[in-house]
């Protein structure tokens, strides 16, 4: 299905705008003006940050959590929800 379409001509354009990318292709890390920093020493691995993150930017690997800066928009919800104060918000330096 995907291959028959291209943006080269009207004939090969689909009749409506269809994107075959999932939101994995939509890297929103550039939007960030503040950066959450997770301190693994303070983290009790409760997973609340992972659960509350609206962009699935908190990722879990082998029971450990880390923040993907490719997608994190810097909303700060994880820091607000963390019961251990393991996540602090810093100004994003670019």
């Amino acid at each position: 299905m995907k291959k028959k379409y291209s943006l080269k001509s009207l004939d090969t354009l689909p009749i409506t705008a269809i994107s075959f990318l999932t939101t994995e292709g939509n890297e929103t890390g550039e939007w960030r003006s503040q950066r959450p920093i997770l301190d693994p020493e303070k983290c009790n691995r409760c997973g609340l940050c992972w659960m509350y993150c609206p962009d699935n930017a908190v990722q879990e690997e082998g029971g450990l959590f880390h923040i993907s800066y490719t997608y994190c928009k810097g909303c700060g919800i994880c820091a607000k929800e963390c019961p251990k104060g393991a996540i602090v918000i810093e100004k994003e330096e670019r």
């Binding site: 299905m1 995907k2 943006l7 009207l10 354009l13 689909p14 009749i15 409506t16 705008a17 269809i18 994107s19 075959f20 990318l21 999932t22």
Partner: protein, 381 residues
């Protein structure tokens, strides 16, 4: 089988015969009896469809859109304020190229509050990318719903079938409901198209700088729809013995004066045209059945030999006039011959347009050398 039913019931029977798979609707007078009957069909199992009760017409169209993008044959019905509330989603549905079919029971828009027939509700949705049909009888309503699915699925654009509130919606007349096998022959199950597929995730209607190209493709298909609607009508006639045309004419060939209108007013016009002919006046009637795409060629062909055209609008664009009158004038621009177009506003808010009114329209058109502003029929003195 012939049944004595209302045009609203004709819609419901047509949707049953078309085997719609998802119906989402919100009740509104004078549409409610359509979806009431359909929810009954779903409840008894006569129709194997998912009936979704929603909290508004905006949600109804959103639900139809989602079902359609997943590949289902969908239906909704609404009227007036409900259609207005759907406005935003109407653009979405056509932009996503979804073959949704909707019945709109024409009713005046508030304020002031009025439940009766007026075509302004659907005509104010002209630019949403939906095909629009205007019907004249219960039979035509049934037949047009069946045709609408076939057209929508071929063109991949949604279709709105309009019927005037109470004058059609609640009037009982004989409607021939064909055998299911005949309907199945004419309207097989929905042909394959690009749909949501969980194995190949995709997003429909994504942000694009190619916008103008998608709009152009919609334009091309709207133009193509004129031919497809004609072919569909011809194919329908082969199986069911009835056809309607994009426009429907009566005694137009040699007419000096043609009465042009949409919907049920055309019937009264024909009676009055017969009477005028008996008095030696060459009067014909043109009923515009399809308003989007606008059948410019067919209209010009029928009107080119007339001297005068009186357009009777049961609709009104404030600051402009009768909506069909403006469209007819624009269509005639391409003609070398000069046909004078007279505008009449009549029957707004369900006011009866009587034979006497139409006789008055003929008299005024014949006796006025040049068309002026629109003339309003039946105002207080």
């Amino acid at each position: 089988m012939k049944r004595v039913i209302s045009a609203n019931q004709a819609v419901s029977y047509a949707v049953l015969a078309a085997k719609a798979q998802v119906i989402a609707a919100y009740p509104i007078t004078p549409q409610s009896s359509i979806v009431e009957m359909l929810s009954g069909f779903c409840a008894t199992g006569a129709l194997h469809a998912k009936f979704i009760n929603v909290e508004s017409e905006h949600s109804a169209m959103a639900a139809c859109m989602s079902a359609s993008v997943a590949g289902a044959r969908t239906f909704t019905a609404t009227s007036s304020q409900g259609l207005a509330l759907m406005h935003e989603v109407l653009h979405y549905a056509s932009g996503l190229r979804l073959p949704i079919v909707m019945a709109n029971v024409n009713r005046a828009l508030a304020s002031p509050f009025n439940l009766k027939a007026d075509l302004t509700d659907s005509l104010s949705q002209r630019d949403t990318g939906w095909l629009q049909f205007y019907c004249e009888s219960g039979q035509e309503v049934f037949d047009t719903i069946i045709q609408a699915y076939k057209i929508a699925e071929q063109i991949q654009l949604p279709v709105m079938v309009n019927l005037e509130g109470f004058i059609l919606s609640h009037t009982y007349e004989i409607v021939d409901i064909p055998e299911q096998s005949q309907v199945d022959l004419f309207l097989p199950s929905c042909p394959p198209r690009e749909c949501l597929d969980i194995d190949n995730p995709s997003m429909f209607g994504s942000t694009t700088d190619y916008y103008i190209n998608f709009r152009y493709k919609m334009h091309e298909d709207m133009e193509r729809a004129k031919g497809v609607c004609g072919e569909t009508d011809a194919e329908f006639k082969k199986i069911f013995g009835r056809d309607y045309g994009l426009v429907n004419t009566y005694l137009c060939e040699d007419a000096d004066l043609i009465l042009a209108t949409a919907g049920t007013i055309a019937g009264t016009c024909r009676v009055v045209a017969d009477r005028a002919r008996a008095r030696g006046l060459k009067v014909g009637v043109l009923r515009i059945r399809m308003a989007r795409p606008f059948p410019v060629k067919q209209i010009c062909e029928r009107l080119r030999t007339a001297k005068k055209v009186a357009v009777i609008d049961r609709d009104f664009s404030p600051g402009c006039g009768g909506i069909f009158a403006q469209e007819v004038k624009a269509a005639l621009q391409g003609l070398a011959s000069h046909v004078l177009v007279y505008e009449f506003i009549a029957g707004l808010g369900g006011k009866d347009v009587t034979d006497k009114d139409i006789e008055k329209i003929i008299e005024q058109t014949l006796n006025t050398p040049n068309p002026g502003d629109s003339t309003w029929i039946g105002l207080l003195k």
